[in-house]
Structures are given as C-alpha cells and as structure tokens.
C-alpha cells in the first residue's frame, strides 16, 4: 500500500466526518447530483467512491491526506535509516576482527538466528486475533507488552523529527484513528506491522551488506567459542539443521565437521586461531543464516503486511458504514415529498383580558335559534342545558334573507329572554356563524346575553352534552369573539 493510499483514506475519513455534521437532505442532494454525473461517466462500485472523493476533496499538496502521505514517507525513511544504522552497527560489532579474537560464530548464530526466531515468534503472537485472546489466558497482556517493543510504535517518537506541517498531519491522522478506532483498527495494526518489518528489512539488508563488505574488504578470521561444554558434534548437528534450507542450493555454505573441529578456540589459549584462512568458509554459513533467518522472513512479513494493509485500506475505503450510506446517496434517486416552506406560526388572539359574560340561570327563558341544519329537537335541547325555549327559529340554511328574518324576529322577542344559538358540536365554528352573531349583536344592542349551545347527538338521536374535546373549538371561538355578552353555555356532562 502506498503512502498515497493511506493519505486518501485520511482525506476520506475527514470528509466523512465533516459530512456527518451537515444536514442529511443537503448531503442527499449533493451526492445524488455527483452520483448521476459519475454514473454517466460509466463508473460503478468502488471506483464510484474514489471518484466521489476526487470531486468533493480533490487531492492537493496542502491537503491533510497529502501531508499525511508525505509524513508517512518521511517516517518510513527515518525508520529505514534507523534500521540501516542499527543493522550496520550490529554487523560491525559481531563481525569485528582486530587480529586477536576471531569472529565468534556462536554469537552470530545467537543474534541472527536465535534472536530473530524469538522476534518472529513475538510477531506471530501479535498477529493472533481476538478469538485467540479469548482462549489463551494472558495473551492480551503479552500482546500489549510486545506491541510496546514493536519498532512500528517508534513512529510516534520519530514523528517529532518531522517538519511541523507533517507533524501536525500525523497528529491529526492519529486522532482520527482514535476517534474511529473500530473502523481503522485494522489499518493501524497493519501500518505498524509494515513499519516494523520495514525496519527489520532495512536492518537485515544493512547487516548483510556490512558483513559481506567486511568479508570482501577486510580479512576476517572465524571461530567458535563458548563457556558451555559444547561438543563440536553438537555444533555440527546445529549448523547442519540450520543449513537445511540452503544445503542443496549452496552446499559450500554448510560448515564441514573438519571446519568446526578446526575453528574452536579459547580466548586464553596461545593460538586463538590456528589457521585464519582455513576458517574463512564460515562466512558463507553466516551470510546464509542472515539471509534465511533474518532478511527473508522480514521481507516476507513486509510483503504480507503490505498485502493486508492494502486490503484493510480497501475495506475501510469501501465497506465502512459511512461509505455504505454514501453509496446509498450516490446511487439512489432523491425523493422529496415535504413542503417547500415551513408552516407559518399560528396566530391566536389573546383572550386573557376578555370579560366573562353572565352564565344563564337554570330555568332561564330563551329565544332559541337552530343554526345551520341543527338536526336535534330544539325544546329538548334547551331543556338539557337548563333553558326553557319560549320560541324557536332556524337560520344558517337556505337563503341569506332567512337569516335576516331570524335576526329581526329575535330583535323583537322579549328582552328578558336570552338568545340561545343551538349548534352541532361535531362541526367546527365557522366564520359564517361568527358573521351572523355579529349581525345579531348589532340588531339586539348591548347587554342581552347570547348563549352559544353546542350539543351532540346520542345513539338514540336525542341531544347530549358533548365532551371536552368537541367543546374546545367552540370555547375558543366564544372567547375570541369581540362580543362581551356572548357566552358558551355547556353544562358539565354527567358521568
């Protein structure tokens, strides 16, 4: 995976984060327009997402993604340089020969085989997934400790050596990975593994080059020495076992029993190396060990890590939930059905200062008026609400002249009677009624009570007092009327 790929992932993550803060409708419109354009260009599937990113966040040298990519390249170079320095140093130390003590093959084997196998085992432990952690007690802690020692983690320390802009980019990408740990955990994990293996490969290439350089450009004497009681035959078995991978390809790199027997030395002995030239074939064995147990596994792991990193980036790029939502927006038509403009606020008249009209007393005589097809018995309706209907009229139906006649008739009715306007409680109070009540007030003059009586129809067709829900609009209408002698007459319903 190239640093550019990771950089584009940073761009994608930042864009998705920014989009999460924007209104969904706006995103749908923007992405659908882009989606139609890209579909017209013949793009489908994953390429769709990449092309979309190109449009909404074109790659720019000053962009966060490009800076992150540059920073990553810089860090990789630093890490590789660090590996080269350490590898050369280690090889120079292990292959050091000043004419006194020969290069101790046991040390070379311990460092370039033993230690490498241990480190590889550690790497393998780090690669074990969640299921292993569940079944192997203590594995999680071991992995935590091992990961602290992983060179990949040194990136955090090394990034301080970068220029300020790249340092910021790394910090930003790190924070992004922290915020969306689950989404980018795999990318982070394989980035670290790749960094570790890059260090390892650099280390081993440099070590090998240094060792070969010393062999070519200086005269080295090899021998083997250990405090342990080590029989040459045991070392022979060990070296033969280690040489198995290359024994057929490079038989000269397999130390013979004579060589092993001839090159054992003791530092305190008079002749540390009896025949330095005869010890030279050891270098082939050492070089083969460095390649097979040091360089090749690291190179293989680097290749594997890069493959997994590429896969992780790809999956994060196209299969994370926000991208699925994005593809939904890109690929599906925007369907809008709601209103263009917001509902205007409801303006209700303030009725708090309105004077309450006197409530009709029980048995009060009234001039009854059935409004707009009131279908119930008028006398029974009045009785129900404690009124006595002295006379009956109808209005709000038929010709408008009938309304005028009803008003005139009410004007001439006895002044000690109130006017009871019987209305269907299940219908809303219309402005037509309010117009009529205004005209009636004008005809009656001030002071005479007009009672608005909404009534419901019972199952047997008889009038009944309506419930509070049906009364609500009528109460509001009465309160909002400018007539101070208009009263809503609705006795409490019997329970």
């Amino acid at each position: 995976m190239s640093a550019e790929g990771l950089g584009r992932l940073v761009d994608l993550a930042l864009q998705l984060e920014a989009d999460a803060q924007r209104p969904a409708a706006e995103l749908r419109r923007r992405d659908r327009a882009l989606g139609r354009e890209l579909a017209g260009a013949g793009l489908r599937g994953d390429a769709f997402v990449e092309a979309w990113l190109e449009r909404v966040r074109p790659p720019s040298p000053e962009g966060a993604g490009s800076r992150s990519a540059r920073a990553l390249r810089g860090l990789s170079a630093l890490l590789a340089g660090f590996g080269v320095a350490l590898g050369s140093g280690a090889a120079a130390a292990l292959f050091h020969y000043d004419g006194t003590h020969p290069v101790n093959v046991v040390r070379v084997i311990a460092f370039f085989v033993g230690l490498q196998l241990l480190l590889l085992a550690g790497t393998a432990l780090l690669l074990l997934g969640g299921r292993w952690r569940r079944f192997v007690p203590g594995l999680e802690l071991v992995q935590d400790v091992l990961s602290l020692a992983s060179p990949g983690r040194w990136l955090r320390a090394l990034h301080r050596l970068l220029p300020a802009a790249q340092r910021d980019a790394v910090a930003r990408a790190g924070a992004l990975a922290m915020r969306h740990r689950r989404l980018y955990a795999e990318v982070e994990r394989w980035t670290w593994l790749c960094a570790s293996q890059l260090f390892g490969v650099s280390f081993h290439v440099a070590a090998l080059a240094t060792a070969v350089g010393l062999v070519v450009f200086t005269d080295l004497a090899f021998g083997w020495s250990t405090t342990l009681t080590l029989d040459p035959r045991t070392l022979e078995h060990l070296t033969h076992a280690l040489s198995t991978p290359w024994a057929r390809l490079w038989p000269d790199a397999v130390p013979s029993s004579e060589l092993i027997a001839a090159t054992q030395y003791f530092r305190g002995g008079p002749h540390v190396v009896r025949d330095p030239m005869a010890s030279a074939p050891w270098w082939r064995f050492c070089a083969a060990c460095m390649v097979v147990y040091g360089l090749l596994p690291r190179a293989a792991l680097l290749a594997f890590g890069r493959y997994r990193l590429r896969r992780a980036v790809r999956r994060a790029f196209v299969r994370q939930p926000a991208v699925l939502a994005l593809r939904d927006r890109l690929e599906h038509a925007v369907v809008e059905t709601t209103a263009d403009v917001a509902e205007a606020p409801l303006a209700l008249r303030d009725t708090s200062a309105r004077r309450a009209a006197p409530t009709p007393a029980p048995g009060q005589r009234c001039a009854a008026l059935a409004w707009s097809g009131f279908p119930l018995d008028v006398a029974a309706s009045c009785r129900l609400v404690g009124l006595v209907a002295a006379s009956q009229r109808r209005a709000g139906e038929g010709a408008l002249s009938d309304d005028a006649a009803a008003i005139e008739s009410l004007r001439r009715s006895p002044a000690d009677e109130i006017v009871a306007v019987l209305v269907k409680a299940w219908e809303p109070p219309l402005l037509e009624l309010m117009d009529f009540l205004r005209e009636l007030r004008a005809a009656l003059g001030d002071g005479r009570v007009v009672a608005l009586v909404p009534l419901a129809q019972g199952p047997d067709g008889a009038p009944v007092v309506p419930g509070p829900a049906a009364l609500g609009p009528w109460r509001t209408a009465a309160l909002q009327s400018a007539d101070p002698w208009l009263v809503l007459h609705a006795p409490e319903r019997e329970r």
């Binding site: 939904d328 059905t337 709000g396 219908e427 809303p428 219309l430 609009p473």
Partner: protein, 469 residues
C-alpha cells in the same frame, strides 16, 4: 414545474382531515393538525420531487368558512352553466385582498389554476346539508375532482356520505389518513391518475419512485440497527485507578457511565431511524414512548426482548461445542467427543447463567504498570438480542405509522418473549455468529455491512418484529 405537472388541491370543510391527508401523503409531520378550525389560513404546497424534478404537487388549503354566502354571491351573477367557472373566477377577483371571503379566495386559487380537486369529508360524522354550497362551488369550477371520505372517529356514516358525495363527484374513495398502510397510500396516489389522462404516467412514475425509496429506507434502517449493535457490543469505558484509591468506590460510577453510554447510543440510533422514515417531530414526544423508554437494563425488559431460555442455551451450547470440538480434533478424536459434549454443556450453562445481567466493572493491570478499571465490552449472549428486539419493534412501529399520527407509540398487546422465533433458524445462527465475531473483538469495518445484509429482510418484513404479529 411544467404545465402538465399533476397538482391536487385538498379542499373541504375546516377540521375534516385535509391536513391529515396531506401529512400522510406528503410524509410530512410538520403539517399542523389542530382541533381548532381555521389553523390553515394560506395554501401550502407539497411538491413530490424525484431527483429535483417535480412529479406532482399536493396543495393543502384553508377550509370553506362562508360557502353559503359565497354561493349566494355567485348565484346572483349566474347566467348559464357554461359561465359557472367564469363566475367563480370573478368571485375570487372581486374578493381577493378585501378581507371578505379570504379563505374561499385562497382555496379556490389553485383550483382555478388547474389543480385537481380532492374534496375531504369526515366519514365518522353525520352528513349535513351545510356541505352542499361548497360542493356546488367546486362543481362550478369544472375541474376534475375526487371525494375522499376520511373516517377520523369511530362512528360510521360512510354510506350516507357516499350517497351524498356521488351526486357531486364521479370518484368517491374511503381513505383513513391516520392508519393507512404504505401500500394504500400509493394506491390512492395512483388513483389520482384517474382524474386526468395526462396525469397518469407521471403519477405512476412517482409511485414507482416512492416504492423504491421505501426499499431504500428499509435498507438504511437495517444499516442503522447493524451499526447500533456493533456500537453497543464493542463499547467499553475505562478509568485509570490512581494508587491508593479504593476501586469499589469507582466501580458503581463507571458502570453507570457505561450504561448511560449504551442508552445514548440507542437513543441516537432511534432518532436516525425516525429521520429515515421522515418523522422529525417524534423526538419531542420521546417521553410518550413508554414502551421504548423502559430501561434497557431492567430484568423484566430482558425477559420481554431477549431470547427464550432454550434459545440462549442453544446459542451458548453451539459456541461451547465449537471449542470442545477443537480440543477433540487436537487429540485426534481420542477423547471420543467428550470435549464437544462438555463444551456444549458448559457453554449452555454459562449462557443461561449470565443471560440476565451485564458484567460488572473489572480491574486490570496495565503493561507499563498501574491499574485500570474497565467496563465492557459485554460478552452477554442475550444483550444483542435485547438491543435487536427493541430496535426491530421501534422500526415496526414507525413503518406502520403515518405522518398524520401525532399519538404516542404504544406497546402492542402481542409483545412477548420469543419474538425471535419468527426469524428463520439459519438467519438467527448467522446473526449469532456476527455477535460472536464482535464479542471476539473482530475489527473488520465490513462487519456492519454483513450484519445489515442479514437484518435487511427482517426489517422489510416488519411483522417479524416483536409486538407486530
């Protein structure tokens, strides 16, 4: 908008469900539905757009307030039937801006501009002759019309309405705006095509788009639920313990924090699902969600939403058998499958034992020294099923809810344990495998997609959800 864009003016008496019909058909819960008459004073347009192109327009209008007087004015000027429309036009021209017949002018304007008429009445209230003037005025406009009987209450006066309306309108349909399922809404929209031949094709296209959009909504919801499950199952909170601090004092606080974080994720997911269904106003009514606000961690709740005991034992046993089987394989079958047997028994027992509680906070050492108190992620096998059951129920309630419905979401009487029985066995097992991957710390970002694909058919089949059966 082109001249042939189908436009429908929803007209009628005040408070007869015009706005409810508009809210349901336009899937817009911002429509004001109030018991007071006259809350709609100006026309409000609801264009249906497909990728920005208007397919049809619904117009919510004020109700007739002075229809009898308006008709009287028109009759005074009536000469012949062919001039009826001109009289209506002159009525609007004469009264616009005068303050008289304000509502009539407003509602007649879109009709005179060529909108089809959708005349709405309440079929639960008795018919009355006071409706006749407004129906007559609408007839005079000469525009194509349809009557919709919207039964708002329980009483049934539909037949008397049908017989009265059929004298004024060629098409009379019953449509309950409050409870109409999605398919009925589409059917009605398609029916509007009968008003004018040239409207049929755009309406059919609109209906197809709405059906497709509905499928997309279900997929979106499946993804939201998958994300919620992943979030809930991977959530953990931790706190570093300073030297000398009593961990027990910190435990309760951290557990509370963990539970609150789980609840918050559920609340957020619900809000997103409501948004997907176009219900933007529900959030304010969250306190009414009595069922869905029951505590996520109450034992009664887990009995209601989680798996049955035998299902729990089965899922636990399957996991245990897998581990035991691996041991059997490791010894080359010399254990005569005792590993599988014991593994299954232990897994089943563990699943049952831990099924009704979340784990407590635990202390763990840190690699560089020190201690940390950590809560989550939960390994409880029942928990994802509890979360899933609640989410599916929430989805089912929303899927069946119209945008005219302003009531609280209520618990269906049929809610009970065992809802997951209605998910087929293979899918349940596949879901359990996904939950196991999550419990094992699988960080594959594609896991949400895998889960969403499993959930999509369940979400689409809303009657699988608990409480909808």
């Amino acid at each position: 908008m082109s001249e042939t864009t189908p436009t429908f003016a929803v007209v009628g008496h005040p408070n007869k469900g015009k706005s409810s019909i508009v809210a349901t058909l336009a899937q817009d819960d911002s429509v004001r539905i109030a018991p007071e008459p006259g809350t709609t004073r100006v026309c409000r347009r609801y264009p249906m757009r497909l990728d920005g192109r208007v397919q049809y327009v619904l117009v919510d209008t004020p109700g007739f307030q002075r229809a009898r007087r308006a008709l009287a004015w028109m009759r005074e000027r009536e000469t012949r039937a062919d001039l009826h429309r001109a009289v209506v036009e002159s009525f609007v021209a004469a009264h616009r801006g005068t303050g008289r017949f304000e509502d009539e002018c407003e509602l007649l304007t879109p009709v005179l501009e060529g909108a089809g008429i959708l005349y709405v009445v309440d079929g639960s209230l008795p018919y009355g002759p006071e409706y006749e003037p407004e129906m007559e005025i609408l007839r005079w406009t000469g525009e194509p019309s349809m009557a919709l009987i919207n039964p708002i209450g329980e009483a049934d006066h539909i037949e008397s309405w049908r017989s009265a309306l059929s004298q004024y309108f060629k098409i009379v349909r019953v449509f309950d705006a409050l409870t109409a399922p999605f398919e009925k809404r589409l059917e009605l929209l398609q029916g509007f095509g009968a008003l004018r031949e040239e409207w049929r094709a755009p309406l059919e296209q609109a209906v197809r788009a709405l059906s497709q959009e509905r499928l997309q909504v279900r997929e979106r919801v499946a993804r939201r639920i998958a994300e919620l499950l992943v979030d809930e199952l991977t959530l953990s909170v931790s706190k570093r313990l300073p030297e000398g601090v009593d961990a027990r004092e910190q435990e309760a606080a951290l557990e509370r924090e963990y539970h609150e974080a789980l609840r918050e994720r559920e609340r957020k997911a619900r809000a997103q699902v409501e948004e997907d269904y176009g219900h933007h106003e529900i959030e304010r009514r969250e306190e009414s969600f009595r069922l869905l606000d029951q505590d996520l961690f109450s034992v009664e709740h887990w009995v209601l939403w989680g798996l049955r005991r035998r299902q729990l034992v089965a899922t636990g046993a399957a996991g245990g058998a897998l581990v035991g089987g691996a041991l059997d394989a490791a010894v080359g079958g010399a254990s005569i499958f005792l590993g599988t047997l014991f593994g299954a028994a232990a897994g089943g027992a563990a699943a049952l034992w831990s099924s009704f509680r979340l784990e407590k906070a635990r202390i763990q050492g840190l690699p560089l020294g020190g201690r940390e108190l950590r809560c989550g992620p939960t390994r409880n096998r029942n928990f994802p099923w509890v979360v899933l059951g609640r989410a599916l129920h929430h989805n089912a309630r929303l899927a069946g809810r119209t945008h005219a419905d302003r009531g609280a979401l209520a618990l269906e009487p049929s809610v009970g344990p065992g809802w997951a029985d209605r998910i087929d066995r293979e899918r349940r097992a596949a879901l359990e495998r996904c939950f196991t991957r999550l419990r094992d710390g699988d960080t594959d970002p594609a896991l949400v997609q895998d889960l969403a694909e499993l959930l999509a058919p369940i979400v689409a089949q809303a009657d699988v959800a608990p409480g909808i059966g």
